[in-house]
């Protein structure tokens, strides 16, 4: 490659004295030809060197060389002149090729390839036809006859074809930009300069075809604009270099072991892509997740691309970035390598979050399933045993008037009915313990009022629930009240208790306060722990204040949106 590069630079440079040797040449035109040729070659060589795998460098070198060769038509030697004339229009086709192949050097669609193919055919094929038919002054080496009328038509077709190809290229650029505006400003600028140059080339060819006035001026402006593109491109490369140097800053930043959220910001800054995101690979879940442990889908489309980061041969994370970054693989890999250790930490963090998420989900499901099962059991008791016992007791009563009047018989009957009444009472307690039917049927306020009425000490109520809540929330709140009142009765030695239910700002706050001895053991037995579990399983918070001698306050805050 260095040999090819040297040759290209030499050829471009050589064209200068060659052109200047022609005494009659307009120095401005010579300057403008070099203005296009030399930056193209230079930019191409540098791009080739920076990114050998990209085809853009060689393509730009070819463009610069073609431009330089086209300058040879200013020479007086017939050989050089013939070469120059043959290359007269080629730079336009190569330029279109560069525009469409930017930034990775490949033509993306069949349409792009067809467009560039047509442009080459018109620029080279028709030019050769023109030259053999004597279309260029003065005579060139491959001229066989002079057919002025035919040449004029061929030239019109040639220039109009190239005009159409440039305009179509412009449409392609505009379309791509509408799909995804590159987020790196330098890239966007290169595309803009290409678009402007395509407009000028099309204008120049139309001026030539239709004989509009001001051809010379337009040609100068066009050459000037076309020569701007490689300069903008070089600035872009410089920007990418700077980006790569910011990897050094990144390493320094990461040495301070940033918190996982800051890691993203540091990477986004180093890669100059504010849209950058990170996804962490969790081998146990076989999925990528964000920092909160939520699954993330990697994208690879017109707008976004992903770069996988490995560490010691293990998947660690993926960078989700702007498509435009994808052609700077070295930069991405460097950033990934620099972030390695911190990424590992962040991945553990994400892994933990995902597990917590999964656990709380499964805890909620377990509690939900338990609730359903309890409701089913309570219903079965209610519809089955309880109804039957009542009906049985009723039948015994109906028997009464058919019985002989002996007292013993009636006493037996009364005893039997008493047994049934006690069984019913026990069953009622069992059923209520399994699931408070009044809660499902009539809501929290009614159920808590009943709890307070049944409590073994006076209970003040402050109820402000306003309507029904999701059942799991009602059940959690109900158990907080019922367990707490039971604890107060058993341990607190309290004179009275206050139960308040307040719903505000999308939360239900349940509080049970007593005026007892305080100092409750929150770990003893499973009571408090079980309550905390219930409340936390529905996303709430459970707290207990129990200073010695200062009563006990149990509070549950449950989100209910």
């Amino acid at each position: 490659m260095p040999a090819a590069a040297t040759l290209a630079v030499a050829a471009a440079a050589a064209s200068i004295p060659l052109a200047l040797a022609a005494g009659h040449a307009d120095p401005v035109r010579v300057f403008l030809l070099e203005w296009v040729g030399v930056p193209y070659v230079l930019a191409g060589v540098i791009a080739w060197w920076c990114r050998p795998q990209s085809g853009l460098g060689p393509l730009m070198v070819a463009g610069g060389l073609a431009s330089a060769f086209s300058g040879w038509q200013l020479a007086e030697s017939a050989g050089a002149y013939t070469v120059g004339a043959a290359f007269d229009i080629v730079p336009a086709a190569l330029f279109l090729h560069v525009c469409l192949a930017f930034p990775d050097g490949r033509l993306r669609s069949r349409f792009d390839r067809a467009l560039v193919g047509v442009a080459y055919a018109a620029a080279i094929g028709l030019q050769v036809v023109k030259m053999t038919l004597g279309g260029v002054e003065p005579a060139n080496l491959i001229e066989v006859s002079r057919q002025a009328a035919v040449v004029a038509t061929v030239e019109d077709v040639q220039l109009l074809t190239l005009t159409a190809a440039c305009l179509a290229g412009l449409v392609v650029l505009a379309w791509r930009r509408r799909l995804a505006r590159p987020r790196r400003r330098s890239l966007a600028l290169v595309v803009d300069s290409f678009a402007l140059a395509l407009v000028m080339v099309a204008l120049l060819f139309m001026t030539a075809t239709f004989g509009w006035p001001g051809f010379d001026e337009i040609q100068r402006v066009t050459l000037f604009v076309v020569g701007l593109s490689p300069i903008v491109f070089l600035l872009g490369l410089l920007d990418a270099r700077l980006a790569r140097s910011s990897i050094g800053d990144l390493v320094l930043q990461l040495r301070r072991d940033p918190a996982p959220p800051d890691l993203r910001d540091a990477l986004a800054g180093a890669l100059r892509d504010p849209s950058l995101d990170l996804a962490y690979w969790l081998p146990d879940f076989q999925t990528y997740v964000d920092l909160e442990g939520h699954p993330v889908q990697l994208r690879d489309d017109a707008e976004r691309a992903s770069t996988l980061i490995e560490r010691d041969g293990q998947h660690v994370a993926a960078l989700l970035h702007d498509r435009a970054l994808a052609d700077d693989r070295q930069l991405l890999d460097a950033a990934g390598a620099a972030a390695g250790m911190s990424l590992d930490n962040a991945r553990l963090h994400a892994d933990l979050r995902a597990r917590v998420e999964e656990l709380s989900g499964s805890r909620a499901r377990v509690i939900e399933a338990g609730l359903k099962e309890r409701q089913r059991l309570e219903r079965n008791l209610h519809d089955g045993a309880q109804q039957r016992l009542i009906a049985l007791s009723l039948r015994l009563s109906m028997l009464e008037k058919h019985l002989p009047p002996e007292r013993e018989v009636r006493q037996e009957l009364d005893a039997a009915r008493g047994e049934i009444a006690r069984s019913l009472e026990e069953l009622r307690d069992v059923a209520r313990g399994i699931h408070p039917a009044v809660l499902s049927g009539h809501g929290l306020e009614v159920a808590v009022e009943s709890l307070a009425a049944r409590a073994q000490l006076p209970v003040r109520l402050r109820l402000d629930v306003r309507g029904r809540l999701p059942e799991r929330i009602e059940v959690a709140a109900y158990y907080v009240v019922s367990e707490s009142l039971a604890n107060v009765a058993k341990h607190a030695g309290a004179g009275e208790a206050t139960v308040s239910l307040e719903r505000s700002d999308g939360r239900l706050v349940v509080e049970v306060v007593d005026d007892g001895v305080g100092g409750a053991d929150t770990e003893r037995g499973s009571g408090m722990r079980g309550l905390a579990d219930r409340v936390e399983a529905v996303g709430g918070r459970f707290r207990v204040w129990t200073p010695l001698g200062g009563g006990t306050r149990v509070q549950a805050e449950i989100p209910c949106v």
């Binding site: 219903r379 209610h382 519809d383 309880q386 109804q387 039957r388 009542i390 009906a391 007791s393 009723l394 039948r395 015994l396 009563s397 109906m398 009464e400 009915r417 049934i420 009444a421 019913l424 009622r428 059923a431 209520r432 039917a437 009044v438 499902s440 049927g441 009539h442 306020e445 009614v446 159920a447 808590v448 009022e449 009943s450 009425a453 049944r454 409590a455 073994q456 000490l457 006076p458 004179g495 009275e496």
Partner: protein, 214 residues
């Protein structure tokens, strides 16, 4: 006296029908859903509707809603709610403004046939029938310096029966005392609790319940 019944257990419905007919009441409608009950109440204008609190389809609050609707739409129809659990909150919801023509009893009570028929008749006549469990729950725990402490045991008995919705005559029969002495106890109770005396027998039920609940 005409009765409509809504009860989804076939066994109990049949038992209720038989019990009521044998007790001299006419069962004009018997069904298993709240919707049907509302229809029957509209069509047959019974004196009292007996309704199970848990009715299809969800077995949640259909029965109570039907009861409240009948009380709102047909004030002349008494409503007796039966349930396998009695809850103070539900009683207060059912009574709301007045205890007239309203009853709320544990289902178990139907096996005490005579007393149950009495309760049905009372509710049909515009009186009340409140389950003893509710009254005893309310009386079971009181704060210190409670005016209730000043009641004599006999007065407490009278208070309980009064809160259940029984008439003075009913209380007299229950306690085997004269009507005169019941009246004496009642005015003494109202005086000790600081409640305004007088008013109909069913109006005083709510007053006593509200007093006990406060």
């Amino acid at each position: 006296m005409r009765v409509a019944i809504a009860e989804d257990s076939v066994l109990l419905r049949a038992g209720l029908e038989r019990l009521l007919s044998e007790g001299g009441l006419e069962v004009v409608g018997s069904c298993e859903t709240a919707e049907d009950l509302l229809l029957k109440v509209r069509s047959y204008a019974p004196d009292v509707a007996i309704v199970d609190i848990r009715l299809p389809p969800t077995h949640n609050d259909e029965g109570l809603r039907a009861a409240l609707e009948i009380r709102a739409q047909h004030p002349s129809v008494g409503v007796l709610v039966l349930s396998q659990y009695v809850e103070l909150g539900l009683a207060m919801k059912l009574l709301a403004e007045s205890a007239e023509g309203a009853g709320y009893l544990l289902k178990d009570r139907i096996s005490d046939v005579k007393d149950f028929i009495g309760a049905v008749r009372r509710v049909a006549d515009g009186g009340s029938a409140i389950d003893p469990i509710i009254v005893s729950t309310l009386l079971s725990k009181r704060r210190s310096d409670d005016p209730l402490d000043e009641l004599t045991p006999r007065e407490r008995d009278v208070l309980e029966l009064m809160a259940e919705g029984r008439s003075n005559q009913g209380i007299a029969d229950r306690l085997v005392i004269t009507l005169r002495s019941v009246e004496k106890y009642v005015s003494s109770i109202f005086g000790k609790l600081g409640l305004p005396s007088g008013g109909s027998e069913s109006r005083r039920v709510l007053a006593v319940l509200l007093y006990l609940r406060s």
